[in-house]
Symmetry: C2
Amino acid sequence: MAQLRTPRQSTPGRSAPAVDEVDTSFLETLVGYNARRAALSAIDVFLQRMEPFGLKPVDFSVLSLVAHNPGITSRQLCTALGILPPNLVGMVNTLEKRELVARKPHPHDGRAMGLYLTPSGQKLMRDAERTAAAAEAEVAARLSPAEQRTLIALLKKVYKPA
Amino acid sequence: MAQLRTPRQSTPGRSAPAVDEVDTSFLETLVGYNARRAALSAIDVFLQRMEPFGLKPVDFSVLSLVAHNPGITSRQLCTALGILPPNLVGMVNTLEKRELVARKPHPHDGRAMGLYLTPSGQKLMRDAERTAAAAEAEVAARLSPAEQRTLIALLKKVYKPA
DNA sequence: TATTGTTATACTCTATAACTATA
DNA sequence: TATAGTTATAGAGTATAACAATA
């Protein structure tokens, strides 16, 4: 656990000193740095638990939004998840080939397609969301329930514009 | 602000319903999801503020660790930052060409090279770290100082193995 | 004229295998 | 035999431009 300190001079005036313990204290003062490390750590666990379902985190996010928002459009998915439209196309195509989602014509907009889970998609997501919740518990095992709520609330404050 | 609810059936029994407001409540229960969104948001601000220095977040992280750990090796940088060795080489080469860092032989290990900031690297990083701190204040503007400390402490609990 | 979905494409980031020189 | 640094390369993720169909 790095603490704030000035670099030691192991051999003052002589040749290059060696670093034994790396001081990361400045980086650790940055929210972005810590959030990124935490995200990568949590996503790593998530990745492993979702492997049996053949879902990467983005696939899971897409399917979860389709599950809770039947009829959602590609554009809405992109906005909600911060994905660019061209990069969503391939994902949805793959999920459609796996018969997890289906495209149906949008009721009010002839340009758009509404996305829906197929019955097998619904079954998969019931299991996958249960597994996601379990992975979540695993990640946040060292946090109390109150700490988890606090953490998520503070993170939302950071990324949700007023 | 999405709340927990079951999807409405705007036209029950009829054709595909349209989604007006996207419900992201399930995803928002996941630490990984929120941490990733917060990290991307913070890094976006960071990216803009570091642009005048010609530094991307990773470059800044590398230089900051070299600044606070003179003589640090590539391997130590990789471990500390979660970067793979082959991907660090190009970054250090670029920073060396810009005369911000220098490689010197390691005192105890003939295979390794110690990394150091050059005088101009030191000057750049003094300004860059000040700017980073300012960007930090900007990102966390909607958090009280106590909330910032809490957030960072909780994030560390998530990604720092016991 | 603006927007949805799409294709093609380029750029960045991340990952793996293998080599060299030193330990 | 193992490790530090490196090269080459492959794959995943993210970006912009442009087009057809519809609003």
